[in-house]
Symmetry: C2
Subunit: 134 residues, 2 copies
């Protein structure tokens, strides 16, 4: 079922500072910030040769990552995103195996304009897992 | 400086259970467990088309990940590992920029038999960063 690692998401309290660290200190290619109000985040991508890192800063008052940053004020790894070919087939197979799909169980359009689902961290070794159909 | 994402490491309390989740529930290719007493861990690799996930279970009483699991009993994302071409040049450049290198500042031989260094999470948006020379 699992394809490529699409990205690792890191929640950060200060996107400009984190982007500068990756660009200036680590010498990585960093995209311009994109505000995604419908997801409650502003994102910057660190483009690596084989995958990308997504830096997330809360946007607005209802951001889903605000609670994470309250517990991890310096920031931290928030989720991993794996690619799947057929997200509905993946969802049905996961549900049949007892894994919990977050929200109403229907894919939403994610930050890359493609259908995504999130899986319960307690079912995946404490790691929030996003699946993205590619 | 940064090359490929070599791996994402996830610390887990029960390696057999986590490996089974990735193999059976997520349908990934999972390697056999390898005990690495000199690193205080037993590891399993999840082989993805573009990178890998390293599942880490504490081995022995002095495991460096025991403290992490005490704070995160279900497990969780522990570090990211980026590849660099010249680890000593990378280290010197990072130190000159004010970033903190963990331990005595000298590379050790990592789980893949190559020189590695770890960087202080507080200098990298709350994320423990490993550099591996490839």
């Amino acid at each position: 079922m699992l394809g490529r690692l699409n990205h690792v998401a890191i929640a950060v309290p200060d996107l400009a500072a984190a982007a500068a660290t990756y660009r200036d200190t680590l010498g990585a290619t960093v995209t311009a910030p994109q505000a995604l109000p419908e997801h409650g985040v502003t994102v910057v991508f660190i483009e690596l040769p084989n995958t990308k890192i997504e830096l997330l800063e809360p946007l607005g008052t209802d951001s889903t990552i605000a609670g994470f940053l309250a517990k991890n004020p310096s920031g931290g790894m928030h989720h991993v995103c794996y690619e799947v070919e057929d997200i509905l087939a993946a969802r049905d197979q996961l549900k049949a195996s007892g894994a919990r799909v977050l929200g109403d169980g229907n894919p939403k359009i994610g930050a890359h304009g493609k259908p995504v689902l999130f899986l319960h961290p307690k079912d995946f070794a404490g790691t929030l897992v996003e699946l993205e159909q590619v």
